[in-house]
Amino acid sequence: MKNWITTTATALAIALGASVASAEEELVVYHWFEYIPQELLDKFTAETGIKVTMDTYDSNEAMLASLKAGGMGTYDVAVPGDYMVKIMTNEGMLDTIAEGELKNKGNIMEQWLDVPFDPGRKHSIPYQWGSTSFMVNRDVYKGDINTLAILFDPPAELSGKINMLDSQGEVMLLASLYLGIPQCSTDRAQLKALNDMLLKAKQHWASFNSDTAKEVLVSGDVAVGMIWNGFGAKAREEGANVEYAYPREGFNVWMDNVVLLKDAPHRANALKFMDFLLEPENMAAVTNYARYAAGVKGVEPYLDPVLATMPEQNPPEGAKGVFIEVCDEAVQKVYDQIWTNVKK
């Protein structure tokens, strides 16, 4: 009997000890698909002994929904876009990073330090920033591509060969820019026009897809693809004769950010991960992989030289990039209705 008790106690102790130890050495990341090189995660594990588990999502909205449906308390960090950082802050989903908790906070570039969506960077650090526009296959269409009409009122040879990102925020922004109406407009006539224009434009679209946005351009399934600039650069580098457009009406500019989630089970590890990403060499590795731009000082020596002259990274003089605004509930309700009308 005594023997039995000792064995059980030992087993329990081992089990408990093991679980405590593994809790110490874990980090659970909720991240966009294809957005961080595996080697970088391996490097983090090698340096800190922290094992990284990662789940992925394909839109800011999908990430928010999944966190609200019970993901809080599971993940330590997520990587929302600018407007989504603001939404998550309003929803009380983010933990505050106290002054001095991040030793590499000084590496953040000045212009990305005091941003409107997170003044003083209390909840987030910059990950990557870039733009959302579209690419056109130059074998199929040789005309002027720097207009949003390519997406919303395309020439005959492009009709039916367009893939849109399955992302309400970005589609609505580009549509508003095309019509020349403000974002989150409360004007009924303008909203009605937005709805009608999108319904008409849909007839020209082949599909809505985000995760295969690059692949359908490379394979030639579509001739026009709404896409993020870095993802689009990869499509070009994989051999597609595609050109990234900078529409005159404007295009979307965004910044993705690593945020510390409320109730993070491994808060200390999350901070270590943020510090790790703020090292110029590591952030440069992300940029080299994802083909966007870093918000960290001193990355230049580590960057792939191609990036400096990459057309997707270098908008022409006077190009107009616009951040997505967060609409209030009444307008968002109409946006949701329009989105349903478009996608039904």
């Binding site: 839109s59 909205e61 999908a62 928010l64 929904a65 999944s66 609200k68 449906a69 939404i87 929803e91 893939n163 399955d166 992302s167 309400q168 925020g169 009924r188 909203l191 009605k192 709805n195 849909k202 679209w205 082949a206 599909s207 809505f208 897809n209 295969t212 394979s219 030639g220 399934d221 509930e329 968002q332 309700k333 109409v334 949701d336 209705q337 329009i338 989105w339 349903t340 009308n341 996608k343 039904k344």
Partner: protein
């Protein structure tokens, strides 16, 4: 049954007679927990108020069902008209799933018949071969189907190479692609029950029919088919019901342009709209519909048995 268990070691069914209900308890718990509880949660959610940006507020409302059946315009303040959007989505799903089931039946029945008529020794190998592709995840199989069907894909290349067509057939991102995808996703669910039924069928009956001057077609229709009917019906239900709620095929093969019920519901929970009560209401309406279809099947089956 009662005698069968006795050979092992003197244990018979009567040994446990007094415990019968207690022994059923685990299965009731499992059923209650994994079947009834989630459906119950959905039922409750469908009557709750939508929270801005996903989630629910615990206030009773019929808004979700109202949204499903009534169209109040873009701004929600016009007098209600009948909302055709979602009825159309349901109708599309019924039609798409029906087409896929028909396709699965047309291909699956001869396949099952073929396997069942092989020598007993090799039948398991054929069944095994049918299931091999299904060891791979559904998502991967659907994406592969996308590669096969695309305009510059192997299927079109092959057809052009044979000279049957000179320009690629445009299938991807159409309803046909969705039907092919659904058919392919659930084909084994058609083949296996029919195979099980045909395997038990006594082929001497077909021979007897032939001796009595039945043509092959008549023998198939009047003798074989009625005998294997339960297998065929089971197969149809097993293909039809999951096809009805599928969202991978319409998303990946249909281009996510035309909602099916499954994609509509998915969008409410993880997509841009984030309207949980509405997603729950659509689920409940789908569930009710499936239940009615199954009840009609069961009633017809019972009637057929009474008459036969």
């Amino acid at each position: 049954m009662a005698g069968g268990g006795g050979t092992g070691g003197g244990v018979s069914a009567s040994t446990y007679a007094g415990l019968r209900y207690w022994l059923l308890l685990p299965s009731w718990l499992v059923l209650g927990f994994i079947v009834l509880a989630p459906v119950g949660v959905m039922l409750i959610y469908s009557f709750l108020t939508k929270e801005f940006r996903g989630g629910v507020i615990w206030e009773f409302t019929l808004d979700a069902y109202d949204q499903f059946f009534f169209d109040r315009g873009l701004f929600g303040d016009e007098p209600p008209k009948i909302e055709w959007t979602y009825i159309l989505i349901f109708w599309r799903s019924i039609w798409q799933a029906g087409a896929a089931t028909l396709l699965a039946l047309v291909i699956g029945f001869p396949t099952a018949y073929f396997i069942a008529t092989r020598p007993e020794r090799v039948r398991p190998i054929w069944v095994f071969l049918i299931t091999i592709p299904y060891w791979v995840n559904l998502l991967i199989r659907t994406v592969s189907m996308k590669f096969l069907l695309r305009d510059q894909g192997p299927l079109n290349d092959f057809l052009i190479w044979t000279g049957l067509i000179d320009t690629p057939i445009h299938v991807i991102n159409t309803d046909v692609a969705v039907q092919i995808g659904l058919f392919y996703s659930y084909l084994p669910f058609m083949v296996l029950p029919i195979y099980a039924a045909v395997e038990r069928y006594d082929f001497a009956l077909s021979e007897a029919a032939a001796d009595l001057y039945a043509t092959k077609w008549v023998a198939l229709r009047r003798v074989l088919l009625p005998s294997v009917r339960p297998g065929v019906i089971a197969g149809c239900i097993l293909v039809y019901v999951p096809s009805l709620g599928a969202f991978l095929a319409p998303d990946l093969l249909g281009g996510a342009k035309n909602f099916m019920i499954g994609s509509l519901i998915e969008e409410q929970f993880k997509g841009n709209a984030g309207n949980w009560p509405f997603g729950a209401a659509a689920s409940m309406i789908l569930l009710t519909m499936v239940m009615i279809i199954l009840l009609l099947f069961a009633r017809q089956q019972a009637r057929a048995e009474r008459e036969g």
